[in-house]
């Protein structure tokens, strides 16, 4: 393209061909601008990106402007790549970037292959559910008819309305947090820590020796450190789980307080919500979560989403040696065999697979839902998840306790 030394690269001097649109009104296609309105237009572009959900922080934008400065002025492809390289922070951002770039600067050049798109055309219709935000949406699980138990595979995107947590909810959260203070399962890590006994630690021993001017000193030892295993929660937020969703998400929040916990929601799509839940205060955490999850109370595609989880995260390392917890009722509209196969795959990767099913507590429950039946052989611990007590016990199971044989739910 050009020499490393940058000769002929246009350097710092961008030409001043006047053409530039009004920076703030976004979507009119326009030419890639050049100075003097250039920076304003580029900043407007960054703002549009932020609106689309790309985390284009001030520092990134600054780098972007510097990068554009280095490039040939007014070249669309250069601006495209400069922005993509500096403003995007992950694969998820790329799709949004393409979209915003096309809308802001007109259609993208043809030469490039697009980023692998999401599997199906999106329904961009986002319905706010329930009354105005902040009002009595708390008892929403009462008006959720049990008929919602039928899982559907059609995708309806809606966001959840959150209300402030009441004192009862906070109490619940507090108890869950307490339940999570157990140390948890550990694995041996590669890191070594100073220890009373173990192998001789040459570094510290020699340092000790030096400190004493070369006189023989006591041998210092170290041994392998233990690390807590990662916990991965997959929370089903589909319609059939609506009565339990609040409690389960609070559970997830309590779990996410610990280190090394990853939380995903599954419904009609897979959403990683670890970051949203990382807020200490449950209110902002739940608000952020509600913003982030687009498929609230939609259908279920358990098998497909589990596969997506494993492809994108699990197999690369997130599920390896981890304790993976699925919070779902196992209603699967898709092919149960797919779910079964993915569960086997998950079971091979994970240290332990725990399935919490709120419906298990019902008298006479048998895992007849096709998905549940297919998944069960690959589940190490199958527990309930319908009440606070059951969730506390689930927390204990996640932390390594044996699931109580039966009827243990009342103690907890």
């Amino acid at each position: 393209m050009r020499g490393v030394d940058g000769t002929g690269s246009g350097g710092a001097g961008r030409r001043t061909d006047g053409e530039h649109g009004r920076p703030d009104r976004a979507p009119q296609p326009r030419d890639v601008p050049t100075r003097p309105g250039a920076d304003a237009a580029l900043l407007g572009f960054a703002r549009a990106l932020r609106a689309a959900g790309v985390d284009a922080s001030a520092e990134r934008v600054h780098t972007f402007l510097r990068a554009v400065d280095e490039l040939r002025p007014g070249m669309r492809a250069d601006v495209y790549w400069a922005g993509r390289l500096t403003l995007c922070g992950g694969h998820d951002d790329l799709e949004r970037y393409e979209r915003v770039f096309a809308a802001y600067f007109g259609d993208a050049p043809r030469s490039r292959r697009t980023v692998p798109a999401t599997p199906r055309p999106r329904l961009r219709l986002v319905v706010r559910e329930g009354p105005a935000p902040g009002t009595a949406a708390r008892d929403e699980h009462h008006d959720a008819p049990p008929a919602a138990a039928l899982a559907s595979s059609t995708e309806v995107l809606r966001h959840r309305d959150v209300a402030e947590l009441g004192s009862a909810d906070r109490e619940q959260l507090r108890r869950l947090l307490a339940a999570f203070t157990l140390p948890g399962e550990t694995r041996r890590s590669a890191r070594r820590r100073p220890a009373r006994r173990g192998e001789v630690d040459p570094h510290r021993t020699v340092r000790e020796l030096l400190r004493r001017g070369g006189e023989p000193a006591r041998l210092r030892r170290h041994s392998r450190a233990e690390r807590p295993r990662r916990v991965v929660l997959l929370v089903d937020v589909s319609g059939s789980m609506a009565p339990y969703a609040d409690a389960l998400l609070r559970f997830a929040h309590a779990a996410a307080r610990g280190t090394r916990t990853e939380v995903f929601t599954i419904g009609t799509r897979l959403t990683r919500v670890t970051r949203e839940l990382s807020h200490r205060d449950p209110d902002p955490a739940m608000t952020a979560l509600a913003e982030a999850v687009p498929d609230w109370r939609g259908g279920t595609r358990l098998g497909e989403l589990l596969r997506e989880f494993l492809d994108r995260w699990g197999q690369r390392g997130m599920a390896r040696g981890a304790v993976v917890v699925l919070l779902s009722d196992g209603w699967e509209r898709g092919d149960p065999e797919l779910l079964g196969a993915q569960m086997r795959r998950l079971h091979r990767l994970a240290h332990r697979v725990v399935w919490a099913n709120p419906r298990k507590a019902r008298p006479g429950y048998a895992p007849l839902a096709a998905g549940m039946a297919a998944a069960l052989p690959s589940v190490d611990a199958f527990v309930e998840g319908h009440s606070l007590a059951a969730l506390e016990r689930l927390a204990a199971v996640v932390r390594g306790a044996e699931p109580a044989p039966r009827e243990g739910a009342d103690r907890a």
């Binding site: 393209m1 490393v4 510097r66 922070g89 890191r191 340092r207 390392g317």
Partner: protein
Amino acid sequence: MRARLEATGYLVDDGLALACFLALRLHRPIFCEGDAGVGKTALASALAEALDAPLIRLQCHEGIDASQALYDWDFPRQLLHLRAAEAAGVKDADRLESELYDRRFLVARPLLKALETNPSVLLVDEIDRADDEFEAFLLELLSEFSVTIPELGTLRAEVPPVVVLTSNRTREVHDALKRRCLYHWFDHPGFARELAIVRRRLPGVSARLAEQVTALVQALRSQDLLKPPGVAETIDWAQALDALGATEVDAELAVATLGSVLKYREDAERARGLDLAAVLAARGA
């Protein structure tokens, strides 16, 4: 830039060429993400060759710490020096002490070596395998391109090294680190580019074989596999077939050598169910 990289046998597209250019101009690390075997690590060696600079590689793993990545004191040598000084009857304690913490007793690990070598290409491979603490430490180093050694003072790179970070996305790398970098996502290449890469890498393989293998891999990649093969696998496969003395491949031979591209039993079974002959026939003429 592009021409220089391609001269080393590494084919780049617009985006990557631009990324390399900007990395050199802005002194920003390139953060490479993408599936395994798409050429993330190879980029660093190509850059090193193109810039005629040594490649310094830091392979990250869990539990990596500053003494493995940055510098360490050579304790045995320090001890020897001490003993020798004792034997010679050196009395000046202060001088002895300053001698002990001299640069020559410092063992430079990859990061320090990269700062001291000008110019150099530093490859921080699989950063996602290191722990968070190490990431924070790396962040500091990459923003200043200097390190402070308590006994020696601050060492600064005269010319910041070109830094390539790779991640396989086993976990999310922290934003603070990514923000410092130019982010580049590596896609699987299209047919023409992949063929060009295979031809470039394996000049000895017959043109027909290269074309067929590339077509097969592209077909496999469009299947729903646990681990879609990367370019590295394409090259492996072509090499394997070439080693068998084949100049072209039929469905039977492809199935027999499937092990060099697909590393999961489920994937191999799925591929056997595929009509490989049809794929070959489509490319046949």
